[in-house]
Symmetry: C2
Subunit: 388 residues, 2 copies
Amino acid sequence: MQKPLAAIISAGLSKFGRLDGMSLREIFAVAAKEAFDSCPNLNYKEDIKAIFIGHMIESSEHQCHTGPLIGDWVGLPNTPSLRFESACASSGAALRSGVMAIMSGLFDIVMVGGVERLTHLKTSEATEYLSLSADYALEQWNGFTFPALFASMAKAHMHKYRTKEEHFAMVAVKNHSCGAKNPKAHLQKEITLDKVMSSKVIASPLKLYDCSLISDGASCLILTKPELARKFTDSPVYIIGTGQASDTIGIYERDDLTKLNASILAAKQAYKMADISPKEVNLAEVHDCFTVAEILAYEALGFCKPGEGGNMIENQETCLDGCIPVNMSGGLKSKGHPVGATGAAQAYEIFLQLTAQADKRQVSDARIGLSHNIGGTGSTAIVHIYKR
Amino acid sequence: MQKPLAAIISAGLSKFGRLDGMSLREIFAVAAKEAFDSCPNLNYKEDIKAIFIGHMIESSEHQCHTGPLIGDWVGLPNTPSLRFESACASSGAALRSGVMAIMSGLFDIVMVGGVERLTHLKTSEATEYLSLSADYALEQWNGFTFPALFASMAKAHMHKYRTKEEHFAMVAVKNHSCGAKNPKAHLQKEITLDKVMSSKVIASPLKLYDCSLISDGASCLILTKPELARKFTDSPVYIIGTGQASDTIGIYERDDLTKLNASILAAKQAYKMADISPKEVNLAEVHDCFTVAEILAYEALGFCKPGEGGNMIENQETCLDGCIPVNMSGGLKSKGHPVGATGAAQAYEIFLQLTAQADKRQVSDARIGLSHNIGGTGSTAIVHIYKR
């Protein structure tokens, strides 16, 4: 197995959901405070040398320059701080850049995270802002919203592989069942297959319960060099692989809508770097912005062969006691999807799981985890592999 | 002197100015094409392994996810591509991240750049969008626009150091004189001191000709490992120092408005890394978003002592035949300021100068160059040092 690239020594997450009355800077500070408080050996004001923040939608905040804004409000006003925007992969990008920063030798300790507020918007406004991550000029302008883009992929998968609408619904049922065990999840309630199948159609075949949530929230991770990790904690989590790739910005340019090309490429890079095969992964957090996306992710990440994603969920292989539990946090579907915070929030869940802090949703003997964060219709994909 | 961190092997710049009828993706492609065409040994589709793009204002484009959008349109649809937003330091941030990416060992060759369109906006809209880089909630909301924020610094400097309005005006005269020699500059015309002094007051003491331009444009650089540079060109430019720091997001939190604190810190880091003193710098591109900012930059970068910036321009020390020529490109003042493109455009000018391609504005025997890029009211500062 690969020499670790970086180590996570602490992590924090705000409650996800409707955080009325809190500003962006205040929400991030909640996540940062948990990360600082959980690591007594960290003197954060002295030790943290750079900040990498994912944040997607400046339009809804009427605020750019989120890097120094956030640094200032967590008590690090002079620390170099950068904002990343890669649509819903913004904090996956921040995490990867934090890893690169550690690998570059420029810094010993950096803070990585993400933050977003969405619930103050009307649903129509949020839909419009989220659609900025596709090709606005050639897709959104013509009325192709995000549910419709993913519905096209769902239709293609159903056509090519005989995947059923019930398969998508099963993903929702599983993720809500996990989210019900996560005290920080946005929607902590179990749902039934009937409930999903009978919910309002948003963009056929996707229904209301096939769509992830519009949430507020923030995530934060503290990274250091592998060799320094045990100065700060007895249970560091090591990052042993990182991969990123792109796909065309518009789905109209793609040959095959049943594949997440960038995710396939990013996963290959990460597995190669970690020197492991998909079979060695004990649990994963994948980007279930719509239920179909989770099924496409199973296939892109090599958890099953192309076309077998539907069977995988039907056979409960990705449930808590399955061979590879997926989205034990509840995923974007039930934990929630404050878009800029999502990538680092996936890493937060992996950190909890690999350090045996995941309580009722704990995967037993979890040693190797994987996170998969995409932006837009998969035009950005970022994969990380972790080991305890 | 420090071992180089990375090498620039090629560079491209679009014309800066009003680029009517061109989309963001098309403008960037112009800069990228120059960089690709100028380096025949580069097989860009094979060689470039990652893309780092600075772009500030998604609101004005109604488009997020600029990373893969740009990658797609320059013929690199699967290459990992990230957007950085650090206000007007967005492509300085992209450059620094490109350097870190090379240093990390993950990539041999990366593309760095920036792009912005502003001239399609009404002046009031552009002013509003640019103001998003200060503290919106506590500054802009109360009517504190960017000219007013920098006017406060100008007033403080005049009060503490007896700097005169004419000193600010001299910066404009110098930079227009340089821009007149730059065929890619937005405004290629010389101006007189009288013209500046009698121009319309925008925010006293700053007048119209103290303000940089609202421009469209793009910049692009190709970076590689120092040891690979000569495979691609006989005249690489090496990056030998990089520094970044932050300051409070609001100027209301600062003790002294006459100092650019983050710039002082970033410059110290870069000089230390490059193992040189300010006296060894042969030319610099500094962030003259307003004329006063150039004077503050002289002092922050150690070209003169605090308070002596006014004398420095009065004594013509920063002119083409002065001891340290500054903003030979024309600077943001005359070359123009397509905000997301500015940081990498500064590096483009240094690249031209250190490879003796700057024609009528060439600094003789230029060996060491420096670029200084700030975001907002200096809440982000990024400094790079280059040698031929």
